[in-house]
């Protein structure tokens, strides 16, 4: 639930409850005041009747005028009547209709006889007043609620706009690209503060990330020199006379390890470079020709494993770095060869904007989530474990879609351009 909506709901419900309650209190208060005024009038009338009766020792005439009616009835001896006020109806003779009324029933003694006196007064005016007040209150409630809703809807949403803008930028935040956060134009302190914190945080994160990257970059570069020294010393070592075959084997192992370390380093550097978008030599790459060239390059490797190659190409041009296209194809094809089985098969298809490389191999699907992770490889693999990660990065750079699935005993890697 959106904050504005939640706030709106709470706000409106509370206002409604308070207004209804205050309306009710108001209603009862006015009702009470008007009723006691009516009762007062009735009492004055009673006093007048009592005074007149005392003076003349007889009842005044029953009257019915000006919304007031006085009736008398004789009480049988022994009957007692409690003096009380009550709600009743008043028959308006002018309008010939019943109206709500208020009555006072009391007893009076005149000429040694007890009479009950009923003084009725129309409370129509009071009721009308109450209704009128009630309607005004209701009107105020409605107007107030509508105003609140409008304020909440428009003012709140415009008040919160900077927040949503910042949120949008946060969502789109990517460490690798250089887009800075843009400052929102707002006078609200909280949002200004939020903006400033977000910007400061993003700068700090970027800085840390940059440092980390340049650390990787520098570390990899720095490692190249000692590697070069090891390599050159090994090259010098094998020139010395009379090495035994055993020593030769050991040296070869060292060579292989150095070679692997070098490749690993180069791959890390390459990854950093792609991530930093430092490879910008885009050109028109004729992919089908490039693939045919690559496959020819790998010909001997495939022949060694007695692998059967099936290729179907359609012309396809891509606008990308040829260097990266080369690396991408190298990785896909060399993986298909390396993880194949003897007398296996490799199928390279390029059509309708999709390149797929399918190969036979272990009869078990790879973990498609993890296969693209850095340093993920099975224990038997001689590779650096970075090949697919690099391919993924290249695909991300050019918005290609890299997929893996296992189908019909074939591992299929496909790139949709």
């Amino acid at each position: 639930m959106k904050l504005a909506r939640k706030y709106n709901r709470v706000n409106l419900v509370t206002s409604l409850i308070i207004l209804v309650l205050s309306g009710a209190v108001y209603y009862f208060a006015i009702h009470y005041i008007l009723t006691s005024k009516l009762d007062n009038d009735l009492k004055i009338e009673e006093e007048e009747i009592v005074a007149s009766t005392r003076k003349y020792d007889k009842l005044p005439l029953p009257s019915d005028f000006k919304d007031q009616k006085v009736t008398y009835s004789e009480l049988k001896p022994g009957d007692t009547l409690e003096r009380h006020f009550g709600n009743t109806t008043y028959y308006n003779t002018d309008d010939r209709e019943s109206e709500p009324g208020r009555s006072l029933v009391t007893t009076i003694r005149a000429g040694a006889k007890d009479y009950s006196v009923t003084i009725t007064k129309s409370s129509l005016e009071a009721e009308d007043l109450i209704r009128f007040i009630f309607l005004i209150t209701l009107g105020v409630i409605v107007v107030l609620l509508v105003t609140l809703a409008i304020i909440n809807r428009f003012v709140l949403s415009s008040l919160w706009r900077p927040f949503y803008e910042t949120l949008k930028q946060l969502k789109a935040f990517n460490l690798a690209d250089k887009n800075e956060f843009s400052l929102q134009h707002t006078q609200i302190d909280e949002f200004v503060e939020l903006d400033q914190s977000v910007i400061a945080m993003s700068r700090r994160v970027r800085q840390d990330y940059k440092e980390l990257k340049s650390f990787t970059d520098n570390a990899s570069h720095e490692m190249m020199t000692p590697l070069a020294v090891i390599n050159s010393k090994l090259d010098t070592l094998i020139q010395t006379e009379a090495l035994s075959d055993r020593q030769g084997e050991l040296i070869e192992d060292v060579y292989l390890a150095v070679n692997r370390l070098t490749r690993l380093n180069q791959s890390l550097l390459l990854l950093a470079k792609i991530e930093n978008n430092l490879i910008k030599d885009e050109e028109d790459v004729i992919l089908d020709t490039l693939i045919v060239q690559k496959l020819r390059q790998f010909n001997e490797l495939m022949a060694a494993g007695n692998l059967h190659l099936i290729q179907e190409m359609e012309p396809q041009r891509l606008y990308m770095s040829k260097y990266l296209a080369d690396i991408m194809l190298n990785n896909l094809i060399s993986n298909a060869i390396r993880h194949n089985k003897p007398n296996g098969e490799i199928k390279v298809l390029l059509h309708s904007g999709k390149l797929s490389v399918a190969n036979t191999g272990v009869a078990k699907a790879l973990n498609s989530q993890r296969a693209f992770e850095r340093f993920y490889k099975d224990t038997s693999s001689e590779g650096t474990g970075l090949g697919l990660a690099i391919t993924t990065q290249i695909c991300n750079l050019y918005n290609f879609k890299l997929d893996y699935h296992y189908q019909g005993e074939r591992h299929v890697f496909s790139i949709t351009f």
Binding site: H221, M224, T225, L227, A228, V229, I230, N231, S232, K233, L234, D235, T236, I238, Q239, L243, S244, D245, Q247, G248, E249, I251, E252, Y255, L256, V258, N259, R260, T262, R263, Q266, L269, L270, K273, L278, I279, D281, Q297, F298, E300, L301, A304, Y323, D326, I327, N330, S334, E382, G383
Partner: protein, 224 residues
Amino acid sequence: MKILLIEDEEALRDSIITYFTEEGNICETADDYASALTKINLYNYDCIVLDLTLPDGDGMEILRNLKNLHKNDGVLIISARHSLDDKLSGLNLGADDYLVKPFHLSELKARVMAIVRRKSFDGNNFIVFHEISIDGMAMKTMVNQQTVNLTKKEYDLLIYFIANQNKVITKSALAEHLWGDEIDLSDHFDFIYTHIKNLRKKLVEAGCGDYIKSMYGVGYKFGA
């Protein structure tokens, strides 16, 4: 052959010098920008092996200086930076080749030899080793004036061997040279064996001495 090696890493410098001077080449060294600049101003070299990252300056500046001096020395850049930009700007500034660290000494030697050959014979590059003579322009190999038909890989192998004669060359160096470093052949060295076997057979059949020897299981040595 006169070579200037500009490299600040002492251990690497020593290895390269040992590898190059054994054959009576003159190999001078400079370990920083300043001394390198002095040397290129004073002398001419067949090939300058240049490290781009020097403690007191940028190797690229040396290239610019060479260009300004109108010198025709061959230049091979060796750098830890495997960057296309560096490679291109180096080559644009007149370098002849670019080799990324780490490299095999045999590869360095082969590249230097190729540069020197190109420079010194004005493109007419002939390689002669005993009864073998190679016309680098026509890519033709002859043994005792008889043409031997070599495949591209065998031809490359032979040139590489002659450039590194009497040195033990590792299988991985050969593999990298023949297939490029993009393809990781570390578990497939038997290919090299096949190519070497074929080359050896063709040469011997043409009446050439058997110059290729397998060494300690690590590699091969070419020499009379």
